[in-house]
């Protein structure tokens, strides 16, 4: 596996490692491995102050008083050339997120099933079948950009975004799927809702990370309210699935 990459300076204290501009799971997993390796092998002591992995880029912020562009690009090149960061590729975390696909929670269920010429059941089965890779987190804490949704149901986003999308909404935008951790304006197609709290300002660290996989599990409305209560009481734990099931 040889990937083309280049370095692009973004500011006095930031650079991008840029790979081929494509949404590709293998390439993206490489970026997450690279991110982990940079934090581990260079890290704060080596002057890295923050990183942002995205679809085909890794943004590296650094402290100019500790390192510089030339030094960092040399270090990163050597890490990539040695392929040593691939060692992190081992375990894949697959996290199960319960979703209630009900028209009350998913006002676009009807539109998406018409788009895909499927029944609701078929649509739900299609959306829950495979685990989705979290390519990146952005937009807001806990908002995971995931893919890829089977083409059949990959309906493009709304022309006019909704002013308010409720927290927990599970949505589709073309081949991407995602969840809204807090109420926000949004143009993605809403097909269901998770009862699980995806952002909590008292414990803002998300329950999943870029590079993890999410698998949706269809639940009833009754279970929705049951899990919601458990979760509010701090007694609900997300299921981590055995990766052997999928890979």
């Amino acid at each position: 596996m040889v990937y083309e990459y280049r370095f692009v300076p973004v500011g006095e204290q930031a650079l991008n490692v840029v790979f081929e501009a494509t949404i590709n799971a293998e390439e993206n997993r490489l970026i997450h491995s690279l991110a982990h390796t940079l934090l581990k092998s260079i890290g704060k002591d080596g002057g890295i102050t923050g990183i942002i992995p995205a679809y085909h880029t890794l943004t590296v912020n650094f402290d100019i008083f500790q390192t510089n562009y030339a030094e960092l690009t040399k270090q990163i090149t050597s890490i990539i050339e040695k392929h040593s960061f691939l060692e992190n590729e081992g375990k894949k975390h697959v996290i199960e997120i319960p979703v209630c696909y009900d028209e009350e929670f998913g006002p676009d269920l009807d539109a998406v099933s018409k788009y895909g010429k499927t029944t609701f059941d078929e649509l739900i089965r299609t959306h829950t079948e495979e685990p989705y890779l979290i390519y990146m987190m952005g937009f807001m804490p806990g908002f995971a950009y995931m893919g890829s949704v089977p083409s059949k149901i990959a309906m493009p986003r709304l022309r006019n975004p909704r002013a308010k999308v409720p927290a927990g909404s599970v949505a589709i935008a073309g081949k991407q799927t995602g969840m809204y951790p807090v109420e926000a304006p949004g143009g993605w197609r809403l097909i269901g809702r998770t009862p699980v709290k995806l952002y909590d300002y008292n414990h803002p660290e998300p329950r999943y990370f870029a590079g993890d996989y999410i698998r949706f599990k269809a639940i009833s409305k009754k279970d929705f309210y049951y899990i919601q209560k458990l979760d509010l009481d701090g007694e609900y734990q997300l299921n981590e699935l055995d990766q052997g099931e999928f890979f």
Binding site: V10, N16, P141, Y201, P206
Partner: protein, 341 residues
């Protein structure tokens, strides 16, 4: 622990330090002071770490009552502060006592001001290693919101301030009459996606900061640029990124920005010029000047070195006369000496 009481919250007063840069991979914005040089200076003036939590206010400062003896410094925009009715200066340390009241007038220049208190700053509960407030996420600060009447903020009392008399920093005066302001930028990661016409127009345009200007970013108004028509994949954002939105106008991303963005970044404001930009009012026009990364880095290092030199200067004054309220007895002796001479 002692407290201060907010008697009036002002317009949008929040607790800020230098933010939480280590959680961007999880989509959590950095936040922190918008004019981070002003916040650093305020802390240096009261002998704090530069990252100590300060009060950041916008356009109109708060009214505050102190319930302990401590030292304060005000920096940032021209906010005409008064302490117990007496006008005080910016960029200088002052002693306050129990019952002292600090208040402000609406800013006559600049947009953001800072209040630092000695002995470690404000001790609200940190979250993810920072006390900064991100209001739209209800994160950090005091209950994740702007401060309001009746709020109490914890702080340490403080009776001595080394080199008290020397804690004054002269900064360049805020722009008063100059019409156009030059803001230096470096080329952004998508600079080459723009046509030569767009690049040219970007350099020559005069922009004004629009009404849509907050801690997330400033939208500028001016002549529109032709926008590249190919869609790009979202990438990580950094402080000072200038995105060109679909309408051809720039947004400068600031401290509360989203961690990723899908608009092309034509340029990035150089760090040394950020404070000039964030404090600029909408009566002045600005023009971007593209400079090399080398020049940008040199300017940034120079700005930080200036602050560092001031710190070294302060340390050297510790034992120079007048010693000031560094030690209570020294202060008494000083008073005796002054009254005799």
């Amino acid at each position: 622990m002692k407290t201060v009481e907010i008697l009036d919250g002002g317009l949008a007063t929040t607790i800020q330090d230098l933010g939480r840069p280590n959680y961007q991979a999880e989509g959590i914005p950095v936040s922190g002071a918008v004019d981070n040089m002003a916040q650093r200076l305020a802390n240096v003036l009261v002998d704090n770490e530069e990252n100590a939590a300060t009060l950041e206010f916008c356009m109109l400062g708060p009214k505050i009552r102190f319930y302990c003896t401590t030292f304060i410094a005000i920096t940032g925009g021209e906010s005409c502060p008064t302490l117990d009715g007496q006008q005080i200066f910016l960029n200088r340390v002052y002693r306050v006592e129990t019952g002292s009241i600090l208040m402000f007038k609406p800013l006559t220049s600049g947009r953001y001001g800072y209040v630092a208190v000695a002995n470690g700053g404000f001790f609200t509960k940190p979250i993810l290693n920072s006390r900064s407030t991100t209001v739209r996420l209800r994160l950090g600060g005091l209950k994740g919101r702007v401060l309001q009447r009746g709020d109490r903020l914890p702080l340490n009392e403080c009776f001595k301030m080394p080199s008290y008399q020397f804690r004054e920093f002269s900064t360049e005066k805020m722009l008063k009459n100059k019409k156009d302001v030059e803001i230096r930028v470096v080329k952004g990661p998508q600079w080459n996606n723009f046509t030569a016409v767009a690049q040219e127009r970007f350099r020559e345009n005069l922009y004004v900061i629009s009404q849509q200007a907050d801690r997330m970013g400033y939208r500028l108004s001016g002549t529109r640029l032709p926008v590249p028509d190919n869609n790009m994949l979202s990438e990580g954002t950094i402080l000072g990124n200038i995105q060109i939105t679909r309408d051809g106008l720039p947004i400068v991303l600031l401290t509360d920005r989203q961690t990723t963005g899908g608009y092309p970044v034509i340029a990035t404001v150089v760090l040394a010029d950020l404070r000039k930009l964030v404090q600029l009012d909408n009566k002045h026009q600005l023009r971007f000047k593209v400079v090399s990364f080398k020049e940008a880095t040199a300017a940034f290092l120079a700005q930080r070195t200036e602050l560092k030199k001031f710190k070294i200067f302060l340390n050297k004054q510790r034992y120079r006369y007048p010693i000031g309220p560094a030690r209570k007895t020294a202060q008494k002796i000083e008073q005796l000496l002054v009254s005799k001479s």
